[in-house]
């Protein structure tokens, strides 16, 4: 069983706010899934390489040139930000 402290730590790493009752709930649920996946310890993987993609993935590059988007699309993308001023996205002070 993972501890409450661990749940709080993971939640903070993942930038997820949790209420006290949720911490307890997630502690139980995460533990039961982690207890299940521990099953993989039975498998001999000493000579096996890791697979990240089922197909061979190669880097695909293109010329480093700006692609023009129509203004309407650009406007739409900016409009999707919840807080903005003119054509800028507003954020909280970082420092």
């Amino acid at each position: 069983m993972i501890s409450k402290k661990e749940v709080e730590h993971i939640a903070k790493l993942a930038r997820l706010g949790l209420s006290q009752s949720e911490i307890k709930k997630f502690q139980k649920e995460l533990s039961s899934v982690l207890d299940y996946v521990v099953k993989l310890k039975e498998v001999d993987i000493s000579k096996t390489k890791a697979t990240s993609h089922s197909i061979l993935v190669k880097n695909v590059t293109r010329k480093d040139l700006a692609k023009k988007e129509d203004l309407k699309t650009v406007k739409r993308i900016i409009e999707m930000a919840p807080e903005r001023r003119e054509r800028y996205i507003k954020v909280k002070a970082v420092l």
């Binding site: 997820l16 995460l30 299940y36 993989l40 089922s54 197909i55 930000a81 919840p82 954020v91």
Partner: protein, 467 residues
């Protein structure tokens, strides 16, 4: 035959022979959505104006005597995690409740070029995370064949809409069974293509090494038509591939039956239905062979490490700043993140983000994530070995029929077990089809047909024998 029961090929024939117009057909479907979707909640957004304008264009082409493609004028629906320009795309989440897509997904661009008629966006488990269709922030979809039961997830609305004849076909997406399971529970055909066959550009990412878009249709013929239209390499998705579908095996098809997929605890009636299909394909001249996929029992555990790990990375973008829900509670930057994500994301999404964060975190990476990636190799090797002997592998899609709403939603692990027969296919990147095989207690049971990458024609050939 009623208009709403038509398949893609029948619609095409009807339009060309001028038995009905695309506008008439589209109005029939929009009318059906308005009248009968309340019962099953398969749509989140209905795009009536878009559909009518698309239908009119097709009618104009027909009246001008121009040739039209097979999908032209065919009313269809799109899972609401695939972007359609200028249409809301929610991914079934509160966080994207007001998000308007700024561009078309590549599959949508292709479907539009073919002249298909977009009826709307279908319900799903939030960010495609779920096996029942109950995790949507907009309420659960219900199984049209029994309103007390789930349609299966996460492409719940897409499968339910096709099953209820309120869409001729639909697009879904499959990360661990999200096309095949609902297709099986709703009695329709669902196809997950080979990883890389269909561009993922414009699909809201869940687990990028596993996600793949595919069709949900009424027949295999329709699946072939849609797959042909949406597949191909795309410069916007570096994992999409140029490929040529292999020709089907013209000699006797060899069908492998993996013994690990017929578990002791499995529903006996479901087993009987699947066995009857094995008998049918044997009688049609295929060679049946028992095979072994020894790492099958580790598939689910591998999946539930790799998928949440990728989820935790992909979901980091929902920060309440660039798009999505922003909490009204005051605070500093950290609090904006914490509160916006707490209030905007549902339980299952947060559970998977936390699982993935844990398995990727320092001290656990090797014993969870790296280990799972290695077992993933072994699972893929199991399939490679099996495909040296057989052309197609036949299994059940699920050990059970559609379960009752609420039956599994209190225990995440029990819910995860619904994916036991479907996840290994995604880990190995293989194409697989779910095909209606029969009924148990009047509810559909699906068989799964799996083949080597880009050998989907063998799947279609076997499927047409069984259809």
């Amino acid at each position: 035959m009623e208009l709403e029961e038509l398949t893609i090929s029948q619609v095409h024939l009807g339009l060309v022979k001028k038995k009905f117009s695309a506008l008439e057909l589209t109005k029939t479907f929009l009318d059906r959505i308005e009248k009968s979707d309340k019962k099953i909640s398969s749509f989140i957004t209905v795009t009536g104006d878009l559909a009518l304008s698309q239908a009119k264009k097709v009618d104009d082409l027909i009246s001008q005597g121009k040739k039209i493609g097979k999908l032209a004028g065919v009313p269809m629906a799109i899972k609401d995690n695939i972007l359609v320009k200028d249409v809301r795309c929610t991914a079934g989440s509160k966080t994207l409740e007001n998000y308007i897509a700024p561009y078309d997904a590549t599959v949508v661009k292709k479907i539009k070029e073919e002249g298909a008629v977009i009826l709307g966006k279908t319900n799903l488990d939030e960010f495609a995370m779920g096996s029942s269709g109950e995790n949507s922030a907009f309420g659960p979809t219900k199984n049209p064949l029994d309103l007390k039961r789930v349609p299966g997830g996460s492409s719940s609305g897409s499968a339910a809409a096709v099953s209820a004849n309120i869409s001729v076909f639909a697009l879904g997406a499959d990360t661990g069974g999200s096309i095949r399971l609902p297709a099986s529970f709703c009695g329709v055909v669902g196809f997950k293509p080979t990883y890389g066959a269909v561009s993922r550009y414009g699909l809201i990412a869940m687990a990028s090494s596993l996600d793949q878009i595919g069709p949900i249709t009424k027949t295999i013929e329709d699946t072939k038509i849609v797959f042909e239209a949406i597949s191909g390499k795309d410069p916007m998705d570096s994992t999409s591939l140029e490929f040529k579908s292999k020709k089907p095996n013209i000699k006797k098809l060899k069908i492998g039956i993996p013994k690990e997929y017929f578990l002791k605890g499995m529903n006996k009636e479901v087993k009987k239905v699947v066995e009857a299909k094995i008998e049918k394909i044997r009688k049609a001249g295929a060679k049946i062979q028992e095979i072994s996929l020894p790492h099958t029992e580790y598939g689910l555990a591998t999946y539930y490490i790799i998928m949440p790990s990728e989820v935790s990375a992909n979901m980091a973008r929902y920060d309440g700043i660039r798009y999505g829900y922003l909490s009204k509670k005051p605070g500093d930057l950290l609090n904006v993140y914490l509160k916006s994500r707490e209030e905007g994301l549902g339980d299952e999404v947060r559970r998977r983000i936390m699982l993935g964060t844990y398995t990727l975190s320092s001290g656990y990476y090797e014993s969870y994530y790296l280990r799972a990636q290695k077992v993933r190799t072994l699972i893929q090797e199991d399939f490679n070995k099996a495909f040296q002997k057989v052309d197609v592998i036949l299994t059940p899609v699920s050990p059970t029929i559609a379960f009752k709403l609420g039956e599994k939603s209190t225990d995440p692990l029990t819910m995860y077990l619904s994916d036991i027969f479907t996840v290994s296919v995604n880990l190995a990147g293989l194409p697989a089809l779910s095909l209606p095989a029969g009924k148990v207690n009047n509810l559909p049971v699906g068989v799964q047909l799996i083949s080597k990458p880009f050998n989907e024609n063998n799947i279609f050939k076997a499927g047409e024998i069984l259809e």
